[in-house]
């Protein structure tokens, strides 16, 4: 099937089996390896990307479903000023250790702040509830999001 979508701000067209996982297409066809595979069944969030600005688990999206949609991965998001705010906040708050969950955490953070620029602690926890981190214990990540909110005032 011919699938047309926007990937990291660029229009792309691929001819592929629409049942393939978006995760595989991004990693294999486009070499976007910031999108990680953890559990492969929607429990860990390491494969999080944005579709039409909402975070999704790319391991659970058949690529046929992104036809005519807008897909953003950490590689595309990295080029934006908002990303810089989140990156610095994560570093300053000590929210990164091994880094495997980090792209997913960052994409979930963007998805949250896009919908809700001033989230409460509970709203942050809900927004990150689909992303597992086995290193930091989450408190630093929640702190990082709060720091990004503060420093990014007006950006979202």
């Amino acid at each position: 099937m011919i699938i047309k979508f926007t990937l990291n701000h660029q229009a792309v067209t691929i001819d592929t089996d629409p049942s393939r996982r978006l995760l595989d297409v991004l990693r294999v066809d486009f070499n976007l390896v910031g999108v990680k595979e953890g559990c492969g069944e929607g429990e860990c969030g390491a494969c999080s990307v944005l579709i039409n600005h909402q975070v999704v688990n790319s391991c659970l999206v058949p690529v046929g479903n992104v036809h005519n949609k807008d897909v953003l991965t950490i590689e595309g998001y990295k080029l934006t000023p908002k990303y810089k705010i989140i990156e610095t906040a994560f570093v300053d708050a000590g929210a990164v250790q091994c880094g495997f969950c980090t792209p997913g955490m960052v994409m979930a953070t963007e998805s949250l702040l896009y919908q809700n620029p001033h989230p409460s602690d509970l709203e942050i926890k809900i927004a990150l509830s689909g992303n597992l981190c086995r290193c930091t214990g989450y408190n630093m990540i929640i702190e990082a999001v709060k720091l990004a909110v503060e420093r990014g005032e007006g950006l979202w």
Binding site: S19, E41, G42, P62, A108, G130
Partner: protein, 280 residues
């Protein structure tokens, strides 16, 4: 074998379903787990996929005096942001999965998947919801508890599609959803209960309970629920052991990787009590 199919309209979907056998896929959050294979390989589906997530005809939410109607491909995220959706259904959805899944998973998919632990199905049953099923030459409506016939089984025929869900447009005095799972997000329920009650002058006029993960499908009984009608709330509160006894035959859980039968039975009973404690 015919290939996967990406229709441009509902009509085209129904015509094609009449001709060939397909596995319908909406958001994909159940289908891709159920048929998952190794990384970088396609899911091992039994039938080619029929993609319906993009069909605008299945993405509507409407309200009239009798019912609220929700198109099969409305996502959990869209339900959470809609003013039409009853609070108890939103309370249920916020307990399902995580934002990444709620952004793409659909209400129709949750019903079609027919899991005995399906959270939204519990609440839809307690709200007396109906499923509207279409094929190219038929339309039928079935109560959701009848539509789901067993573990992962429904009355859906190969040429049919879930078109919408209709929820009676009535207010509930009390409507609760309780879920017990291993983790707050992304957990499949060990036990769940959706309960709805209406009363007039302290006397019960409506009583509905639906239990998840305690039988081959979400369990409910109009006849047991019916025994509560006409009682006063006071009578209910002072006869809790008798009520638990009445519901007991409905609760027949199993041991599995998520929990034990013994634990599930005890917790289901405690959830009934919790609901009765909450009403006044």
């Amino acid at each position: 074998m015919v290939g996967h199919y990406y229709p441009s309209s509902l009509e085209e979907t129904l015509i094609e379903l009449k001709k060939n056998r397909y596995q319908i896929i909406a958001g994909g959050t159940d289908v891709l787990v159920q048929y998952r294979s190794w990384s970088e390989t396609v899911p091992k589906v039994k039938y080619p996929l029929m993609f319906i997530h993009h069909l605008s005809e299945l993405k509507f939410m409407t309200e009239n005096v009798d019912y609220i109607e929700i198109g099969a491909c409305v996502t959990y995220k869209d339900l959470l942001s809609s003013p039409l959706i009853p609070k108890v259904l939103k309370d249920t959805i916020i307990e399902i999965a995580s934002p990444g899944i709620r952004h793409t998973a659909t209400l129709g998919g949750n019903i079609a998947n027919a899991s005995p632990a399906a959270d939204a199905v519990c609440t839809l049953i307690a709200l007396d919801a109906m499923v509207v099923i279409k094929s190219i030459d038929s339309i039928r409506t079935e109560k959701i508890e009848d539509f789901i016939t067993g573990v992962k089984k429904t009355s859906l025929k190969p040429d049919e599609i879930i078109y919408s869900v209709k929820i009676p447009n009535v207010m509930s005095d009390y409507a609760c959803f309780y879920k017990v799972g291993g983790r707050q997000a992304d957990a499949i329920s060990k036990v769940s209960l959706a309960a709805v009650m209406n009363a007039t002058d302290g006397r019960i006029t409506k009583w509905r309970m639906a239990f998840g993960a305690v039988g081959p499908k979400v369990m409910t009984s109009l006849s047991i629920d019916g025994m509560m009608i006409g009682k006063t709330i006071e009578e209910i509160k002072i006869t809790i052991p008798a009520i638990l006894e009445q519901y007991s035959p409905l609760i027949n859980p199993i041991d599995d990787q998520r929990s034990t039968a013994k634990y599930r039975k005890l917790v289901a009973m405690n959830l009934i009590q919790k609901f009765i404690d909450a009403i006044s």
